[in-house]
């Protein structure tokens, strides 16, 4: 009797296992494969540090969790992350380039905040970022994320 009950439950257990496996599968079954993304950002061949990158899919059919973000460090190196984990799903992306927020102590509403922020951004290397890189409509930066390739250098031009 007890053994028969266990056997009767097997299909149910199998379904749970399969559903769990699909949910845990990163980009999932229907999405393109996930690719870990790293690279460096340059402007006219020189490093462009401390920028925020946004990777917007140029293909449709999936959710906004495919939207990717990355923050370049002082060395202009970045790693991209998306709503489905570390990296981006394979495909073509438009990339926009923005300033990061200033340090926390320069975000207070104080009389000298504008001057301090201005000085902070002016002191960053290789500025300003050309305006066309800030808008999806005008950015010339398009990357094709391919499984097996993890290094994506982004070369901006003035």
């Amino acid at each position: 009797m007890r053994a028969r009950e266990v056997i009767a439950r097997w299909p149910c257990v199998a379904v749970v296992v399969v559903v769990f496996a699909v949910l845990q599968g990163g980009c999932g079954r229907s999405r393109p494969p996930m690719v870990p993304i790293a690279g460096t950002v340059t402007l006219d061949g020189k490093p462009l540090p401390k920028v925020r990158l946004e990777f917007t899919p140029a293909f449709s059919g999936f959710g906004s969790e495919l939207l990717g973000m990355a923050e370049a460090g002082d060395d202009a190196a970045f790693r991209a992350t998306s709503g489905v984990g570390e990296g981006l799903c394979a495909g073509t992306y438009k990339v926009t380039v923005h300033e990061q927020p200033p340090p926390a102590d320069m975000q207070e509403y104080r009389a000298d905040t504008p001057a301090r922020q201005k000085a902070y951004y002016a002191a960053l290397a290789n500025r300003p970022i050309p305006e066309r890189y800030g808008s999806l409509a005008t950015t010339p930066l398009v990357v094709e994320i391919v499984p097996g390739t993890t290094d994506y250098p982004l070369a901006l031009q003035r």
Partner: protein, 167 residues
């Protein structure tokens, strides 16, 4: 907490409020110490978002260094009671509506700020918006690809000069 917020455009970040080039980056309808008149809405009042819904549940929103508030509801006070009032009042199109923080962005101050200023709703994929002419539209602005995110940004920008068709 405030569940209905003004459209501050694509660059709604509250830290920009105090930056020196405020006039250059402001491309929404409402922002601290900025104003718009009907004349400024050259794309047409029916095609420009004035305000919309904001949803305050996000499991990956946890306290981040550089932000005083501990979770999403407490980062979003009632009007003007936050130390940073922009958190209470504005959202924009930097990220799509109903965008949530990825697991890898937990505790990241940039992701938290993006989330606080995201439009969205707790009732499925659509969220409600008041357009400039006073009409209410329920729109699916999930920004799942470059074209739809660009459409969302054009709807939040009162004077980009680009034609838009509501989804």
């Amino acid at each position: 907490m405030n569940s209905y917020v003004g459209n501050a455009g694509q660059n709604h970040w509250d830290w920009l409020n105090e930056s020196i080039n405020a006039r250059e980056w402001f491309n929404g309808m409402f922002q601290v110490n900025q104003r718009r008149t009907i004349k400024d809405v050259s794309d047409g009042l029916t095609k420009t978002i004035m305000a919309g819904e904001r949803f305050s549940k996000d499991d990956n929103f946890v306290q981040a260094s550089g932000m005083a508030c501990v979770d999403l509801p407490s980062c979003r006070g009632w009007a003007w009671n936050n130390s940073r009032s922009g958190l209470d009042l504005f959202a924009g199109s930097r990220v799509p509506a109903n965008w949530t923080i990825p697991a890898s962005g937990r505790g990241n101050v940039t992701f938290n700020r993006l989330r606080v200023h995201a439009f969205g709703s707790g009732h499925g994929e659509i969220s409600g918006y008041v357009m400039g002419d006073g009409s209410v539209q329920f729109l699916k602005l999930d920004g799942a690809d470059a074209d739809s995110l660009d459409l969302f940004r054009r709807l939040t920008n009162p004077s980009d000069g680009q034609p838009v068709k509501l989804p």
